[in-house]
Amino acid sequence: MGKTARRRKIRKSKEDWILDCIIYLFAFLVFFMTIYPFYYVVVLSFNEGMDANMGGIYWFPRKFTLENYAKFFGDMTWIRAAMVTVARTALGTVCTLFFTSIVAYGMSFKELVGRRAYMKYFIVCMYFSGGIIPYYMLLKTLGLLNSFWVYIIPSMLSIFYITIGRGFYEGIPGSLRESALIDGATELQIFVRIIVPISKPFLATLALFTSVGHWNNWYDSTFFVKDQELVTLPYKMLAVINTNTITANDMNAAGHAASTTTSISVQLAALVISVAPIICVYPFLQKYFVTGLMIGAVKE
């Protein structure tokens, strides 16, 4: 630290000044461009709907109102959807974490018989899919349709994170496992007691990704669930956004729907509600995913 300080004192040339200016200006621009859109959405969501449509609002609400939010917090179906979403995020994350990491751990063992073939198999599974209808039939056969488990089970294994996790576990010295084996521990015990505690960065990265994925997922709720008691927050959000979508060639529909437009402010309130938890949580997990992500991409 002392070194850098001294260096800075000695050589703060003209070039340094210009460079610093550019750098800070650029950084500020990035910061502003990232934050402002979110700020703007929040401002509009607190503004009266009709008034917001007219534009010209930039920094503060012009006609402040809480009405846009009242619509959501007064509605039990929204509360219920939020609960379902929290539950699926929590449970889904834990399941994915356990399953993916244990498979990745198995794959990391260099002398594993058939390792290369397994990996090829996983890659094929990652990039090829049979499309939504056969997949739907499969879920139906498994009895997962219209059940809470459709949120959890089909996403329990993340192949991409197997490849990353494998790389991470390879870095753990094999002696740890061997000495535990000699002490008579089973592989599962080794995994839970020794490996899990030292693989926090990887697990945190995986947890963050999985939970954000769960939180944002509208797809499964839309296509695989009919029961209105089981729908999720993104689904409800999509429904609000889409109350204004009318198949462009259905003139009758457009005629009927003309009386039922939802104002943009209400949509934005829904948006704020669904984004807020992510904004609140991710800065605290930062340290972990920074290390975690590094493992995946920075190979020595």
């Binding site: 139906k140 979508t245 009758n252 009386s259």
Partner: protein, 539 residues
């Protein structure tokens, strides 16, 4: 940090445990019950239909395949319908157009479906109960008229299928329209700003050219103004289409026999050129044409007083609503009025053969209750109740058979949110276009009515042009979809061409693409089928 993580993990565990415990039962039960139950009860109802005769109200899923429909089965009208029809609907709304498509493909459907997009795929015994079999089996006192049955049949997946699986709503025969009083079938018209028009000296607007002149004058006087607001994707310029003789997707050629696709007619060329001229004169903005969703922004502009002409005015109730919004923002002097059909408009061809339909799927646990309910909804009493409320309380019929609404009703309608909680006449699942028209036209002052009915005798209806349309699953249906797609990809280029040459070039390209898509085959097919339909229906 370690501790925080530990606490968080613990918290997650606890939450997930409880969530797990809580949802475990309900979810698992729900799914297993649903599946086995549905199958079992279908079989059951096949065999034992005697005991169901006198059971009370039945709960039933109703899936509404419209993303824009946001009402629940609440309010006095749905309640009364349940009481009289015996079914209490649990409503689920579509959030994506593709949702029902997926369910159809996998055969896993809700009990009752109300749709317009997927009619062609649901009209099959693989997925749905046919109305006629249920009517016969349960001895229902309902015999839909033969043309309505024939229309429903024209949607069948298998051509030789003699059954019908729905009754398409929003249809009326020409005779029924002739007998009607003071109502106009749904066609596109414009609102215009009456106050501004008066300001420029109330010039006459009886021909298309006069209207055009007025638009130019307004543009000159108010250069800031976006004169035309044609932002509704479904109804964009529909009034102009109507006036230029391009109202319907298909129309007869001069011989009165050959059927042509609208965009291949000379009328369309003229119309597109006219719209392009409007654009080049700066009367509407490019953004108008690019809007693919009704998101309220375009409406907001009209309400904020930024436009002179405004589309999606289909009926007096729309005008009423537009005026309420406009006055709220621009003061009481501002006013919209309906732009009447000009004297030199061509014949306005409609081909209304209905719009949406209700289906009883094979997953329905109680098809008897379902068909009883649907029969009730289709009865005159049910249709009126659904749209007009309770007779004697909410409306009375005058000597001409036109409903007169009560004062409470009229007053309640001012606040549309509250109206939908208290009354809720949005379940027009089985009503006709005329029934609906009365709700919109009844009680309107005569000077407003006159603007809507002026020249409305130019409207002609050829239902055969609608009935003959190919089902979406057939080869011709695929061609039609391709053409539709080509249209939406190319039409804007015609509207927005920068010069005459560019316009003609875009037009040529568009015609070329239509040919490639198979427009000639489709027109030929339509010509033949229309012939057949006319024979079958006796039109």
């Amino acid at each position: 940090m370690k501790r925080i993580l530990a606490i968080m993990l613990a918290a997650i565990m606890i939450i997930s445990m409880t969530a797990c415990g809580g949802n475990d039962n309900s979810a698992a039960q729900g799914s297993s019950e649903e599946n086995t139950d549905a199958e079992a009860s279908v079989e059951e109802s096949e065999s034992s239909d005697v005991e169901t005769a006198d059971k009370g109200i039945v709960d039933m899923e109703l899936y509404i395949d419209f993303t824009w429909f946001s009402y629940d089965w609440v309010g006095v009208i749905p309640e009364t319908l349940t009481e009289n029809g015996g079914v209490n609907f649990k409503v689920a709304h579509s959030v994506k157009d593709e949702q029902l498509g997926t369910w159809i493909a996998s055969g896993d459907l809700p009990e009752i479906i109300w749709t317009s997009n997927e009619i062609d795929r649901l009209c099959t015994s693989d997925l749905c109960y046919s109305y006629d079999e249920l009517i016969e089996k349960y001895n229902i006192d309902w015999e839909p008229s033969s043309d309505r049955v024939a229309i429903a049949r024209s949607h069948n997946v298998k051509e030789d299928d003699e059954h019908f699986y729905t009754i398409i709503q929003n249809y009326n025969t020409n005779d029924e329209w002739h007998e009607a009083n003071g109502v106009v079938p749904q066609i596109g018209t414009f609102d215009y700003r009456k106050d501004i028009w008066e300001e420029i000296g109330s010039p006459s607007m009886n021909t298309i050219e006069e209207i055009h002149d007025v638009l130019l004058t307004v543009h000159e006087k108010y250069p800031e103004m976006d004169v035309i607001n044609a932002a509704s994707p479904a109804w964009r310029f529909s009034a102009l289409y109507a006036w230029f003789g391009c109202n319907n997707e298909f129309c007869y050629a001069e011989d009165g026999k050959t059927v042509q696709y609208r965009d291949t007619t000379p009328e369309f060329h003229e119309l597109a050129k006219f719209i392009n001229q409007l654009y080049r004169e700066g009367l509407f903005s490019e953004e108008n044409v690019s809007i693919t969703q009704e998101d309220g922004q375009a409406d907001a502009k009209a309400y904020a007083g930024e436009n002179f002409l405004y589309d999606t005015n289909l009926r007096p109730t729309h005008l009423e609503k537009h005026n309420t919004e406009l006055k709220a923002q621009c003061g009481d002097d501002a006013e919209f009025a309906c732009l009447s059909i000009p004297d030199d408009a061509k014949d306005i061809v409609r081909a209304n053969s209905g719009w949406a339909g209700v289906f009883i799927t094979k997953n329905c646990k109680d098809p008897e209750a379902a068909i009883r309910m649907i029969a009730y909804l289709n009865s005159e009493e049910g249709r009126r109740l659904a749209l007009w409320g309770r007779e004697g309380i909410d409306y009375t019929l005058n000597e001409e058979g036109v409903p007169q609404f009560s004062e409470e009703w009229q007053e309640a309608r001012q606040d549309s949110d509250q109206f939908h909680l208290d009354y809720n006449n949005e379940f027009y699942m089985c009503t006709t276009e005329l029934d609906e028209a009365y709700t919109y036209y009844a009680g309107q002052p005569s000077e407003v009515l006159d603007t809507y009915t002026k020249n409305s005798d130019k409207i002609v209806n050829y239902p055969e042009l609608g009935i003959a349309l190919p089902t979406s699953t057939s080869d011709m249906g695929v061609i039609r979809a391709e053409i539709d797609n080509a249209r939406s990809n190319n039409i804007a280029k015609l509207y927005l061409a920068a010069s005459d040459e560019e316009f003609e070039a875009a037009y040529e390209t568009y015609m070329e693409i239509l040919k490639q898509c198979g427009v000639d085959e489709l027109s030929e097919y339509m010509t033949e089928t229309v012939e057949q339909v006319k024979v079958d229906f006796g039109f």
